[in-house]
Symmetry: C2
Subunit: 320 residues, 2 copies
């Protein structure tokens, strides 16, 4: 297997992105994998700053995640949540006891003045994660979901409402003022990046915020680094999360082509290669028409070997 | 038994004060007991605002406290603390899971802009506490313990260092700028108060902050409301906590007389009656010389009946 010579940057949301990141982390030598995590679905809850995507990536790469649900921790208990329910407090966001320890530790560090980047790096060390994991920004950015029932903060839409309300758009509060995380900016400026992998995460609420932040997509395009994206839609279905439902409600074709078209429209010239599953091989000509090369492989990641295989395919593409 | 006709105000720290408050709450009709809690040992920890005295009083009056240790909750579990230890986070402050639910709920309310008074009142409602419990102030006041090993925030001295360092004084950061809690100020201004009971709490770190806040002791003295204090030292020992050790280190006599002298010196003319235990009956003349009446009774509160008996004796004194 060919491995790129320089650093590789993955852009990731939560569960789906974390799976591919785990495969990449298994294959790349220490120090070579950098991961920019979406923070637009972070939210303040019970005085805590909760960072679902960062934590899912760190828990997955640290080998402590719940393998069945893809988020949260293995061997979790729920004592605090039960007591919150007894107190009559909000309990729709399912905070496990072990997960709460992470949030409390982070809250303490943030209260002392540490940046989210510093806290994330330290949490990575404590979980013995090899990859460098960064929030996309140290400034708060918060997704607002525009729905038929009014605007909802992302976690209210996603967790409390279980993605039920019909979506007609998104905005990212704080995005215009937010600055790209410093290591990510340095990584681009260094011109050493071997490639960027856009993980099979939700294009609208996980990847768009990262790419739009501080004109990051333009910085990447101008640097001419190879960029590939893995389709989060396979055979018309999102493997995880509400991407397919959102696309239908936004009147987009619920296909890998629809995702590629979204990226081509908003980030013209950014993505060189689009990776789709074998079951979507018929879509290749349509995606090629958008100006992208297309790679067809297995993108469904059930076992560790699947994650490594897809990671290997992506890394191979970056060596071309 | 005679009961005062008007509202009664108790000034309380943690465990010892909460015991007498429970007795008072058992005897007084609904709406008549008001409790001003010390907040100078509150502290910020893991991003939370922890209010040990308020919580001890509310947990005790709500019937949910741990009956063996006097603080914390009955039937507590420790999942989060174990996870914090695994993470390598500070774990010297023993936060139980059920207790954490209180702190998290409070943090959420404070983050939404609620005052500590409002949060305390609402927590009292949720725990079905009959008495009105107030923080002494909505403004932060923090005890600093001056020790032979340098200045320590109160909980570092009290919990982390287990009161080991030798004390030579105290200061209360924020006290000068803090305003007396509004209901307490109203209660004094209404001139309806039937009496004030200074609970058998630590004079230096529990009662001094309340009395010194916003010149509260002078307001009370000028209102001519009857004020009695219950000695927290019995037969030369503090029943709970570091009061006796502190008095020895401050070169004060470690007796009920020492406590009365401290109050007489700092709050001249405030306390009309000082309540001591039978075992300290020989101290009566010395305390009388300080200008106080002295009541001798049983002040050790082991059982619920002891708390009620001491409460009855105090209420009887306020009827004279």
């Amino acid at each position: 297997m060919n491995l790129p010579a320089g650093p590789v940057l993955a852009l990731s949301g939560g569960v789906g992105g974390a799976k591919l990141c785990l495969g990449l982390d298994d294959l790349l030598p220490a120090g070579q994998l950098h991961i920019a995590c979406n923070t637009a679905d972070d939210f303040g809850h019970l005085g805590l700053t909760i960072c679902p995507d960062i934590d899912t990536v760190l828990y997955t790469l640290g080998g402590v995640s719940n393998p069945h649900q893809g988020w949260g921790l293995d061997g979790e208990s729920w004592q605090v949540l039960a007591a919150l329910e007894q107190l009559g407090a909000d309990s729709w966001f399912r905070l496990g006891d072990r997960d709460l320890a992470t949030h409390l530790w982070r809250a303490g560090e943030l209260a002392r003045g540490a940046s989210l980047s510093a806290v994330t790096a330290e949490l990575g060390r404590r979980l013995e994660v090899q990859a460098a994991v960064y929030p996309m920004s140290d400034d708060p950015v918060r997704t607002v979901v525009h729905t038929a029932e009014g605007d909802l903060p992302f976690q209210h839409y996603f967790v409390r409402e279980q993605c039920r309300p019909r979506v007609h758009g998104f905005s990212f509060a704080g995005l215009d003022a937010a600055v790209l995380q410093a290591n990510l900016a340095d990584l681009c400026a260094s011109r050493t990046l071997a490639g960027v992998i856009i993980c099979p995460s939700n294009p609208f609420v996980s990847i768009d915020p990262i790419l739009q932040l501080d004109s990051f997509w333009q910085t990447l395009r101008e640097s001419q680094v190879p960029v590939l994206a893995v389709a989060p839609i396979v055979a018309g279905q999102a493997l995880k999360g509400p991407a397919a439902k959102m696309m239908a409600e936004l009147n987009l074709p619920v296909t890998a082509t629809g995702v590629a078209a979204h990226y081509a429209e908003h980030y013209p010239g950014l993505i060189g290669t689009f990776v789709v599953d074998h079951s979507d091989a018929t879509l290749v000509p349509a995606i090629q028409k958008l100006g992208m090369e297309v790679e067809v492989t297995v993108t469904i990641m059930r076992e560790r070997a699947d994650k490594q295989a897809l990671a290997a395919a992506c890394l191979e593409l970056l060596c071309r």
